[in-house]
C-alpha cells in the first residue's frame, strides 16, 4: 500500500523502515489512513446499528413497514425500531409507497429537515419508479427524480423480510463509507432538495426554464393530438323515445366506427356477437345499425326497488311536480336539474319512500352531457335502492347542477370530488373547491378528453408492448418531451408566481368563517399532517383551535390520489383486479369481492358463481374483516395513548390471517384472488384444516383476550365515552357507513340490508351501538369480529367440494353494455363499485364509492368542541385507509 502522500512527515523522518514494518505488523495504528480506518469501523458500526427511520408512510408499503416493526419481524434487531415522528431526529427515510405529486413537496421538505448523515430507502415499485400507478396523472415516476436514493427494495409490496433485506443492504453500504470522503462534512456540497411547486402541475424548480420553454413549444400537445383518443359514447336515452335515440345513435355511428377500428386493433374482446335470445326490453332493439351490443339487464344494483315500483314512483313524481319531472332511463330516474332539489326533498321526507341515505354520488362523461347520478337507499326500508340522474352541459367547466348538501349533507365531499374530476359546478355548495387535486391544477382529469402525460392509448393492451416491430423496452419518460410525468397547458404564463413556499392544497381550506385578525382571543390554525404519526397515512387536517378546544376543522386530502379511476377506465375488466387490491390495502379480499360483484351483475348468468367459490369468498371476506378490525382497534388504541401494546396483540392474529391469505393466493396483502364467477385458485391442501383450527380453537380466545385487556380499562373509557358522538340522524345524513353508522344505533349492514353472495344463509347478528361515540365504535368493531368468527365457523364447516369457476379460466371477459353498482359490507363500511360498460373490453366509467372517504365528511361535526387530543382519537375511530380515501 502506497501511503507516502498521507503519512505525517515527522514519522517518516524518525522511524526507520525496518521498525516501521515491525510496527505495522504488531500495532494497528501507524499512519493516518489506518487510524481513519479504525475510527471508520467504530463510527460506521455505531451509525449502522442505530438507524432511526422517519415514522413516515405513504401507501400500501407502509403497512408492511409497520409489520416489520411489529413483533413478528422485529426491526429492532437491527437497531432501527425507533421510528421518529420528527424528521429532525431521523437518520433514514423509508419512502414506502406511491409518491404523488401532491405529496412530493412535503417529502422534499421532510428530507431537507433531516440532519446529516441521512439515507433514503425506496421501498416498493411505486417509490422506485412509479410502479403500477406510473401512468397516472398524479404520480411521481420514482422518488429518485428528487431525492438521492441509497437502497431500492423491489416488490409490490415488498414483504417485511424484503424490507429487512433492504435494511441490511443499507447497513452494508454504511460499512463501506469513510469519514474522509463523507459528503455531509463538505460544506460546498449542496444536499438540500429545492421544494417542488404545485403549479399547473408539479413543477421541479431546478428545471423551471426548460419546462417553460417546452411548454411554450407545446410539444406534448402536438404529440398527443395524433394519438388515438378514448372512446366517448352518447348517454343512454329513455326507452319510450325510440326514434330520437335511433337518430342519435346513427348520427354517432361515424365517430364510433373509427373508435371500433381502434378497439379491434387493440385486440380486446370485440363486442360483435349477436344479442342473446332475451329481448324483452325495447332498448335492446338494434337501434344502432353499426353494431349490435349485448345489453345487460337494466338495474342499478342487485337489490333495488324493482321495475314496477320504480314506474309507480316515477309516475308519482310526475304527478307531484308536473309532467317531465322524472323519466326512466336504464332503471334510473332522469330528473331535470331545476327540479332536483324539490324531488330530493320529497324522496327524503315522504313517509312511503324515506330515502334518507345517500349511498353514492358519481358522474359520467358522455358525448352529449355529463351525468351526475345518485344512489339512494332508505334505512327505514332497506334494500329499496334507486338511482337518480341529472344531466348537464358537457363542455369543460360549463356544467352546473344544484348541490344536494342541504338535503343529504353526506354529498359534500362527493360533490367536491365530481367538481374536481369532471369540472361540474354545484350551485349552493358551501365550499366548492378541489379536493383530491390542488387549486390551480390545469385539468379535470376524469373527463374523457383529458390525456395524461404518459398517455399511450385509449385501452390496454398497448401496441408498443407486443406488436410486430415493437417490443423493445422503453420507459414512459421517453414518451414525454419533459422527460417526466408532466403536462402543462400551452398558454400557461405565470411562471414567476410559482413559489416553493406556497401551500395551494391547504390554503383555501382554513376552517371557520371568521378571519383571524378579527378575533380578540387567541385562536390559531394548526395544520396537522400530512406527515403525522396519528393521521393513519398522508391525511391532513387544518384545525382552528381556541386554546385546546377545536372550533373548526377541515380535512385536506388527495396526498395519495393515485388515479385509480382513470387507470381503471383503461384497464380491461380482468386487469383491474390487482388495482382494487390497492384501494384499501388492509382489506384486499373485500375489495376484490365488491369489484367481482359489480362486473358479475353486468355479466348476469355468464358468471354464475359455483357453491364452493361462494363459500371461499365469504371465508376470505370475513377473515379480512377480522384482520382489518384487529388493525383498526390496535391503532385506535395507539391514537388514544395506549402506545403499541394493544396494537402488537392485535397484529399477531392479523399476521396469522395473512399467512392463510398468502398460502391461498400468493401474497400477504395484495391477494388478487377473486375472478369473475369464482376465485383464482382452489384452496391448497391443508388450508381448510388450518383455517378450521384457527377459527375454532384460537380466534375466539384471542378476541376475548383483547376484550379483557381493553374494554374495562378506565383510561380507555375516559378517553372514549361521550367523545365524538354522532346521533343516528346525523350518521345517516352524513352518509357514514359501516361500524361508524352502526355505532350510532342504525341497524344497517349491507349483508342484511341488501344481501349479496350467500350471506343470507348464515346466522349472525348485526351489531348496533347506542351512543355513537368512540367507545361504541370500538366496541362495535370488537363484537363484529365475534360475529365474523360465527360466520367463519359456519362457512368452514359447510364448505362444499366442487368447481371454483363456472367455466374454463379465460382472460377474455365479455361484459354486456349497461351499468352496475355493487355494494359490499367491507370492514370500513359500504364499499361500492359503479361500472358503466359500453360492451367493449374496458369499463367506460369506473367509480369507487369508498367508505373511508365518505366517512370523513362528518369529521368536522364530530370534532368541533372536542380537544386536539380527542381529534386524534376521533380520526382513529373512523378507521380510514388513505388508499381508499384518495384512490
Amino acid at each position: 500500500m502506497s501511503v507516502q502522500s498521507t503519512v505525517r512527515p515527522e514519522w517518516t523522518v524518525v522511524i526507520d523502515p525496518v521498525l516501521q514494518k515491525e510496527l505495522e505488523q504488531h500495532i494497528f495504528v501507524t499512519n493516518w489512513p489506518k487510524l481513519l480506518e479504525m475510527i471508520d469501523t467504530v463510527y460506521n458500526w455505531g451509525r449502522r446499528s442505530s438507524l432511526w427511520p422517519l415514522g413516515f408512510g405513504l401507501a400500501c408499503c407502509a403497512i408492511e413497514m409497520i409489520c416489520s416493526a411489529c413483533s413478528r419481524f422485529d426491526i429492532s434487531r437491527f437497531g432501527a425500531e425507533v421510528f421518529r415522528g420528527s424528521p429532525r431526529q431521523a437518520d433514514v427515510m423509508i419512502v414506502s409507497g406511491t409518491v404523488t405529486k401532491t405529496m412530493m413537496p412535503m417529502i422534499a421538505r421532510l428530507y431537507d429537515q433531516m440532519p446529516e448523515p441521512k439515507y433514503v430507502i425506496s421501498m416498493g415499485a411505486c417509490a422506485s419508479g412509479g410502479g403500477p400507478f406510473k401512468e397516472g396523472y398524479n404520480v411521481v415516476s420514482g422518488i429518485d427524480k428528487y431525492l438521492p436514493v441509497d437502497v431500492y427494495v423491489p416488490g409490490c409490496p415488498p414483504t417485511p423480510q424484503a424490507l429487512l433485506n433492504g435494511l441490511i443492504a443499507l447497513q452494508k453500504k454504511i460499512d463501506g463509507e469513510s469519514l474522509a470522503d463523507a459528503v455531509w462534512y463538505k460544506p460546498e456540497v449542496e444536499r438540500d432538495i429545492p421544494v417542488p411547486v404545485l403549479g399547473p402541475d408539479l413543477i421541479d424548480v431546478r428545471f423551471l426554464e426548460i419546462t417553460a420553454e417546452k411548454t411554450a413549444q407545446g410539444v406534448l400537445d402536438a404529440i398527443q393530438a395524433d394519438m388515438p383518443k378514448p372512446l366517448i359514447i352518447p348517454a343512454p336515452q329513455p326507452e319510450k323515445a325510440e326514434e330520437p335515440a335511433a337518430a342519435q345513435a346513427s348520427a354517432a355511428a361515424a365517430p364510433m366506427s373509427a373508435a371500433d377500428k381502434l378497439r379491434a386493433k387493440m385486440g380486446g374482446a370485440k363486442p360483435a356477437e349477436a344479442p342473446a335470445a332475451e329481448a324483452p326490453k325495447p332498448a335492446a332493439k338494434p337501434a344502432a345499425p353499426a353494431k349490435k351490443i349485448k345489453k345487460a339487464e337494466a338495474r342499478p344494483s342487485l337489490v333495488w326497488l324493482g321495475n314496477d315500483k320504480l314506474k309507480a314512483l316515477s309516475d308519482r313524481l310526475n304527478g307531484e311536480f308536473g309532467a317531465g319531472t322524472s323519466t326512466i332511463i336504464e332503471a334510473g330516474l332522469l330528473i331535470p336539474a331545476d327540479r332536483l332539489l324539490a324531488v330530493g326533498k320529497f324522496l327524503r321526507d315522504d313517509r312511503s319512500t324515506r330515502y334518507d341515505y345517500l349511498a353514492s354520488l358519481q358522474s359520467v362523461h358522455y358525448e352529449d352531457c355529463i351525468e351526475v347520478n345518485y344512489h339512494l337507499d332508505s334505512t327505514v326500508h332497506p334494500g329499496t335502492l334507486i338511482e337518480l340522474r341529472v344531466r348537464t352541459d358537457e363542455a369543460e367547466g360549463k356544467g352546473e347542477v344544484p348541490s344536494l348538501t342541504d338535503i343529504w349533507p353526506g354529498a359534500e365531499f362527493q360533490e367536491r370530488e365530481v367538481f374536481d374530476m369532471m369540472g361540474v359546478r354545484f350551485k349552493g355548495h358551501p365550499n366548492l373547491t378541489r379536493i383530491l387535486m390542488w387549486e390551480g391544477y390545469a385539468y379535470y382529469p376524469l373527463r374523457k378528453d383529458f390525456l395524461e402525460p404518459y398517455y399511450e392509448g385509449p385501452t390496454k393492451v398497448f401496441d408498443s408492448r407486443v406488436e410486430e416491430g415493437h417490443g423493445h423496452h422503453f420507459r414512459s419518460e421517453e414518451l414525454n418531451p419533459y422527460g417526466t410525468n408532466l403536462k402543462i397547458p400551452r398558454g400557461y404564463e405565470d411562471w414567476d408566481k410559482l413559489s416553493s413556499n406556497d401551500d395551494v392544497k391547504g390554503k383555501n381550506l382554513m376552517p371557520g368563517g371568521v378571519q383571524i385578525s378579527e378575533l380578540e382571543t387567541d385562536q390559531f390554525v394548526v395544520s396537522m399532517g400530512p406527515q403525522h404519526p396519528s393521521t393513519h397515512g398522508v391525511f391532513r387536517m387544518n384545525l382552528r383551535v381556541d386554546g385546546e378546544t377545536v372550533v373548526g376543522l377541515k380535512p385536506v386530502m388527495g396526498y395519495m390520489h393515485r388515479n385509480h379511476e382513470k387507470i381503471g377506465e383503461r384497464n380491461t375488466y380482468l386487469m383491474n383486479f390487482p388495482f382494487t387490491d390497492r384501494l384499501d390495502y388492509l382489506t384486499s379480499m373485500g375489495n376484490n369481492f365488491g369489484y367481482a360483484l359489480a362486473v358479475e351483475q353486468l355479466m348476469g348468468d355468464d358468471a354464475k358463481v359455483p357453491e364452493r367459490a361462494e363459500y371461499i369468498r365469504v371465508i376470505m371476506a370475513e377473515l379480512t374483516r377480522v384482520a382489518s378490525h384487529m388493525w383498526a382497534i390496535g391503532f385506535f388504541l395507539n391514537d388514544i395513548g395506549a402506545f403499541f401494546t394493544p396494537a402488537l396483540y392485535a397484529i399477531e392474529e392479523r399476521e396469522l390471517i395473512l399467512d392463510l391469505f398468502e398460502w391461498a393466493s400468493g401474497s400477504r396483502m395484495m391477494c388478487n384472488y377473486f375472478r369473475f364467477g369464482g376465485v383464482a385458485f382452489d384452496l391448497p391442501k391443508g388450508w381448510k384444516e388450518r383455517c378450521h383450527k384457527f377459527v375454532y380453537d384460537r380466534l375466539d380466545g384471542k378476541i376475548d383476550e383483547l376484550d379483557k385487556l381493553l374494554t374495562g380499562n378506565e383510561i380507555l373509557l375516559d378517553r372514549c365515552k361521550g367523545i365524538g358522538a354522532l346521533t343516528a340522524e346525523q350518521a345517516i345524513a352524513w352518509s357514514t357507513a359501516g361500524p361508524v353508522l352502526r355505532a350510532s344505533g342504525v341497524n344497517y349492514d349491507i349483508r342484511r340490508a341488501a344481501p349479496y353472495s350467500i350471506y343470507d344463509r348464515f346466522d349472525f347478528n348485526v351489531i348496533v351501538g347506542k351512543n355513537g361515540d368512540l367507545f361504541d365504535r370500538y366496541y362495535v368493531r370488537l363484537q363484529e369480529m365475534r360475529e365474523s368468527v360465527k360466520i367463519l365457523k359456519q362457512a368452514v364447516r359447510d364448505l362444499p367440494e366442487g368447481p371454483i369457476l363456472p367455466g374454463k379460466k379465460s382472460y377474455q371477459i365479455k361484459v354486456p353494455a349497461g351499468e352496475a353498482y355493487s355494494r359490499v359490507e367491507n370492514p370500513k363500511g359500504e364499499l361500492g363499485y359503479y361500472v358503466v360498460s359500453d360492451g367493449s373490453a374496458t369499463a367506460y366509467r369506473y367509480h369507487v364509492r369508498s367508505p373511508s372517504f365518505i366517512n370523513l365528511t362528518s369529521l368536522e361535526t364530530m370534532c368541533v368542541g372536542a380537544t386536539v387530543a380527542d381529534v386524534v382519537g376521533i380520526l382513529g375511530s373512523l378507521d380510514i385507509v388513505l388508499g381508499e380515501v384518495d384512490r
Binding site: 415488498p158 401494546t645 398460502w663 401474497s667 379483557k708
Partner: protein
C-alpha cells in the same frame, strides 16, 4: 366498578401472556428444542445446517419472531415476487412461444416482447426480446396464471434489494430465464400437477416429432 379495576385486569392479561410464553414451552417440551430447526436440541455454538423456517402453529400463544436473515417464514408455493421465464432443463428449450398473452393480461403493462425470426424472415415461436420492468411490475401473478404454456412463473426470491435501478431493474430475456429444475424445486405441487404434466407431455411430443422429421430429412 372500582377505580382501576379494568387497568389491573389488563395488566393481568399481559402478565398471563408473559408467563405463558415460558410455561407453554416447558409444558410442550419446546423449551430445549431448536426453534424452527425441527426436533434438534438447542445448540448455542453452531448454526443449523439448513436455513430454519419458522412455521407458526395455531396453538402457541402469541407469535414467534422470525429472525430474518438467519431464519425465514415458510415460503408458500403460490408466493409471488417477480416473474421468471422457464426453460426445459434437459434440452434448453425455452417454453415461451411469444403468444403475447402475458403482455395482454399484464395490468400495469410492464412486459415487452417481440417474436424471433428465422434467417429467411419467417416468424419462429420463440421470443426474440423479452423485457420486464420491475419498477412497474405489481407482482400480481396474472401472467403466470394465464400463460397457456407454463412458460412464465412467479419467482420466490424476494432478496433483490440493490443500490441502483436504471440498469438493474429492467430484466431482459437473459435475466429472466430459469431452468425447469429450479421451477420444480420452488413449485413442487404445481410442477407435479396433472395439467402441467400433460402440458409437458404435449410439448415433448411436439419436440419429438420435430426431431423425427429432421432426422427423416437428413436420412432422405
Amino acid at each position: 366498578m372500582a377505580l382501576g379495576k379494568g387497568i389491573l385486569i389488563g395488566h393481568l392479561v399481559t402478565l398471563r401472556r408473559f408467563l405463558l410464553t415460558f410455561t407453554h414451552d416447558i409444558r410442550t417440551g419446546k423449551a430445549l428444542k431448536r426453534r424452527g430447526g425441527g426436533d434438534l436440541p438447542v445448540d448455542l455454538f453452531e448454526r443449523p445446517k439448513t436455513l430454519p423456517v419458522i412455521q407458526q402453529d395455531t396453538e402457541t400463544e402469541g407469535i414467534f419472531t422470525v429472525e430474518y436473515p438467519d431464519e425465514r417464514l415458510p415460503t408458500y408455493e403460490r408466493f409471488r415476487v417477480l416473474p421468471v421465464l422457464v426453460y426445459d432443463q434437459e434440452d434448453g428449450n425455452v417454453r415461451c412461444t411469444c403468444c403475447n398473452i402475458c403482455a395482454k393480461v399484464c395490468p400495469p403493462q410492464c412486459i415487452w416482447m417481440s417474436q424471433a425470426h428465422s434467417p429467411d424472415g419467417k416468424p419462429v415461436t420463440l421470443p426474440e426480446e423479452y423485457y420486464i420492468d420491475m419498477d412497474v411490475c405489481m407482482n400480481c401473478g396474472m401472467c403466470s396464471e394465464y400463460c397457456p404454456f407454463d412458460a412464465i412463473k412467479m419467482d420466490h426470491n424476494f432478496e433483490i434489494s440493490n443500490y441502483e435501478r436504471h440498469q438493474t431493474h429492467i430484466y431482459s430475456l437473459q435475466d429472466l430465464l430459469v431452468s425447469s429444475e429450479y421451477y420444480a424445486k420452488t413449485h413442487p405441487d404445481a410442477y407435479a400437477s396433472t395439467e402441467q404434466v400433460t402440458e409437458r407431455g404435449k410439448v415433448a411430443k411436439k419436440k419429438d416429432q420435430r426431431l423425427q422429421k429432421a432426422l427423416q430429412l437428413s436420412r432422405g
